[in-house]
Assembly symmetry: C2
Homo-oligomer: 196 residues x 2
């Protein structure tokens, strides 16, 4: 049976989830798929593009906008987008690290950030400002989630202090995220009210 681009992508995600980014090598992926490493280059021009495809896959839920979310107020809509992004990254081992690398290489889709810019603009921000706010929020989400995920890694197989019960995730990680998110929306709100 012949290998398809999608098989390579889902095989890569499977290795990522089970062994992490450090073990996601072209040779290993080839072996898991029953082909030589070189065969993968028929489907993807290089490893970076493969990682970018993983990123787009992880963040696809951000831009599927059900009618309910679109009808909500701009700040609630932004919260939804931000949470979906965080959830998408947390759903896969080293997800935030993969996404950070992909965006640094400018290979991943801009659709998630554009959706955020649209939400800011809908709130009343001029398009230029909405783009800047979206950029800032996007950076925050990526950085915060990467931080959170690297801490999860350390807790899972490292020296975890028994201060509180870390099941799989630090209990305050979500709080940190929500707080930062609130800071953004409050900042935007104060700019909107200053303009009225």
């Amino acid at each position: 049976m012949q290998l398809r681009r999608h098989d390579v992508l889902s095989g890569a995600i499977a290795i990522l989830d089970e062994y992490g980014l450090g073990d996601l090598t072209m040779r290993r992926l080839g072996a898991a798929l029953g082909v030589q490493a070189g065969a993968l280059y028929w489907h993807f021009p290089n490893k970076q593009s493969l990682l970018a495809a993983i990123t787009d896959e992880m963040l696809a839920p951000v831009t599927v906008e059900p009618a309910a979310a679109a009808a909500a107020a701009w700040d609630e809509r932004l919260r939804t987008l931000a949470r979906r992004m965080r959830d998408g990254l947390l759903a896969h081992r080293d997800g935030a690290e993969v996404a950070t690398a992909s965006y640094a290489a400018r290979l991943a889709s801009d659709a998630p950030r554009h959706a955020m810019a649209d939400a800011f603009a809908e709130g009343g921000l001029p398009v230029q400002e909405a783009a800047m706010a979206a950029r800032a929020l996007f950076s925050f989400i990526l950085g915060q989630t990467m931080d959170e995920q690297s801490r999860m890694q350390m807790d899972s197989h490292g020296a975890l202090d028994p201060s509180d019960s870390p099941l799989f995730e630090s209990p305050s990680a979500a709080d940190y995220f929500e707080y930062g998110l609130g800071l953004f929306t409050d900042g935007v709100r104060s700019r909107l009210s200053g303009r009225l």
Copy 2:
């Protein structure tokens, strides 16, 4: 003449500035210093620790606090800290990428982020909230600067569109940064006024 830890560090920074992170290998660094790659492991346990030392060096200016800055209002002080951090990262090729990797590995100093938390607390935020705000701001700075720097890289030896004159840096990069920064301080201000 014998190699010192500091020589390894400054040699690494020199390679980083001239050739970038991709060319900063232990072998190449050894060659530049006139030793074998293995010799470097006498001074640093691994490459990650070396990169973390570079990060600490780049961000050292953030925590040298002249009296003038300490006397300023909390928001002005935070702007100063944030700008110093961005400047420190931009001062070296791939600086933001090195710092991101170091913080993801949890090897770089927390002093810069603590300085920001202190400034937030001085503004009137409860210590727990100040810590969260500092974390969010720190993520934003790292992400935004990495974005900016990766774009500089593309402009310098890539397809640069002649929309405006990109000398070394996109002209709006600083504006993006200041806008995001303002969003944070406005967000905090709105929370402070809500408490009074």
